[in-house]
Amino acid sequence: MTIDLKGYGDDASTATLARAPGVRVRDLTVVYRTPLGELPALGGVSLTIEPGTITGIVGESGSGKSTLALSLLNAVQPPGRIASGSVEIDGLGDVVGLAGEELRRARGRHLGYVFQAAQNSLNPLKTVGKQVLDLGRSHGVADPRALLREARALLERMGLDGGRVLDSHQHQLSGGMRQRVGIMLALVLNAHLVILDEPTTALDMITQSTILRIVREVHQERGLTTLMVTHDIGVAAEVTDHLAVMYGGRVVEHGPTMRVLGAPSHPYTQGLIRAIPRLSGDPSEARALPGRPPTLGTLPVGGCVFRERCPERMAVCETVDPPRVTHGERTVACHAVEQAHDRAETAGYGPHRLDTANHRTGREELT
């Protein structure tokens, strides 16, 4: 397989890439080797990310969200491995089939990855500028000056003194500044698919809010496809236009953020939203979700992974893994939702629950 590298001239700042790529994950299964045998961290995940969207992948610990993010780079580390399935990225093909030099080139050029806690992903011995040059060298950028210019412009776009930051070591930068450096490093080679892994964890509230605004603006200005992996639904709600909710190694619900939050379909999403401590609403109406998230070892084999905490558990949930069903823009994997939907259709009421609540689709109306 060859990677399309056309468009990379010797000036990184003028390099133009294909527009924001779409991503199609199909039946992706990732297993981890444990003393109990190989256990699935991802159990046949399918997810379609439309070009130009900014999608939040939310889930609690053990839901598989980080494994999914790493799979998009084909970067699952042993004892984990991609057992089956594909990750198709426009312009790159199936990254599961990439290896070695091809894979290395794809990362950075096409895929920008912003690591959790950027302070740990920077080299403490080198200035930011030197790290930009290293990045350029390892990706064969012919004009390092232009690359530095681009880096400075990006930093300045994010409200920093670009020259100063490029001359700084990481310890001279605050958490919020380091996180912006992380975003700059992900974008400076002109990647159009950007994956942010818990980009605001460990940042203060006000800094978090600034970073989230920057992520959103940069996403729009540069025409990116952005994926944001986070355990914090609030963070995802603040910036994304689509939301994929993960549980027990599955994507249980996926759709426009406004509608997933405003009218959640899956019982897990419903319970999770009711459980979020928030500033609006009556605190006495909030309810914790009973039970606890499954771990690799406690994941039920066969049937629905959520059934043990589910208020709508039925006989079929014990044995049959609920299939993904798509209605319009929304995808849900739940037997109860599907049955309710079928009943409503037969009764002639149109799609039930998936479409009854608010019909707002654009965020503009509310902001």
């Binding site: 459980a275 606890r292 902001t367």
Partner: protein, 335 residues
């Protein structure tokens, strides 16, 4: 009842960029946590909230001011004589993963302090096991399930419950919960908050709740008080719901504005306040500490530091020359 008056603490930096400089962590804090009451301290990292919690738990000394526990001032006492007072106040850490000894079963973790207690109070040995089970039931976990297990076999939420049960072994009067739910998965966070609220009601235990996540402060009881800390100073305080729904200090408003909006479920407040970014904290100690980031600053703010005063509502205090209510918190979207 635990009260603090004018509590100050200054750290002297030994190395790094701030070497030799004094960094004030607390600049004269007054507070009171009544028996069974709840007080939340919110603020960003470096505001002094953790230092305050450690001082109240007796793990850190203070430079001036006074901590009074049930009528007894602490500073005249020798460290040894303070100990029994501070034992009544137990600290619950943020990280339930590192707070428990990984090589001990939950039973061992709980019985060690209980055996000491049994010896001191001349209780029979059989009391220890009964009490361990009782405490676990009290914090909402099945003793049969956890007693023989090690911390790594439990979820984060369960571990935090075990940590709380361990704190209860000494029959404390107050818990200091420092970011105690931050690392707990969202689906279980409310249940830990409900447990803390429950302990207040059932055991009359006071709660000093320290968090950066303001929303969680709403869930520890509707009679709680909220203190907003900025760079070691209380800038606003009052009943939790009042401060959250009608904040008047621009810093409180900035914090609330920065809280993510659950679009679809909520829409943003119409007057969100965005402060300029944190600047070098070594400077700007004269005047209002927030002035240099404040969008509403005037000349007066640079001159003299405002102190806490109340407005029409005597229970709601603020330290600002230009207090004004602003609609900053998200509003529930009507479906």
């Amino acid at each position: 009842m635990i009260t603090g008056t004018g509590v100050t603490k200054t750290y002297r930096q030994r190395g790094g960029m701030l070497a030799g400089r004094d960094v004030p962590a607390l600049r004269g804090i007054d507070f009171a946590v009544p028996r069974g009451g709840a007080v939340s301290f919110i603020g960003e990292s470096g505001c002094g909230k953790t230092t305050l919690g450690r001082i109240v738990a007796g793990l850190e000394t203070y430079d001036s001011g006074e901590i009074v526990i049930d009528g007894t001032p602490m500073s005249p006492l020798s460290p040894k004589r303070r100990q029994p007072f501070f034992r009544r106040i137990q600290l619950i850490h943020q990280d339930p993963y590192s707070a428990l000894n990984p090589t001990r079963t939950i039973q061992q973790t709980l019985t060690a302090p209980l055996e000491l207690r049994a010896r001191h109070t001349k209780r029979p040995g059989s009391w220890v096991d009964d009490r361990a089970e009782e405490l676990l039931s009290l914090v909402g976990i099945d003793p049969g399930y956890v007693l023989g297990r090690y911390p790594h076999q439990l979820s984060g939420g369960m571990r935090q419950r075990v940590v709380i049960a361990r704190a209860l072994t000494v029959d404390p009067e107050m818990l200091v919960a420092d970011e105690s739910v931050s690392m707990i998965d969202v689906s279980m966070r409310l249940s830990i908050l409900a447990l803390l609220r429950d302990l207040r009601e059932r055991l009359d235990i006071g709660l000093l709740f320290i968090t950066h996540d303001i929303a969680t402060a709403r869930y520890i009881g509707d009679d709680s008080e909220l203190y907003v800390l900025y760079r070691g100073q209380v800038v606003e305080r009052g009943p939790t719901e009042t401060v959250i729904s009608a904040p008047v200090h621009p810093y409180t408003q900035s914090l609330l504005s920065a809280t993510p909006v659950l679009h679809g479920l909520e829409r943003p407040g119409e007057e969100r306040v965005v402060p300029t970014e944190a600047l070098d904290e070594r400077q700007g100690d004269s005047g209002c500490l927030f002035a240099r980031r404040c969008p509403f600053r005037t000349d007066r703010c640079d001159g003299e530091r405002p102190s806490l005063v109340h407005g029409l509502d005597v229970s709601h205090e603020h330290a600002c020359y230009h207090p004004r209510p602003r609609g900053v918190i998200p509003v529930e979207a009507v479906a």
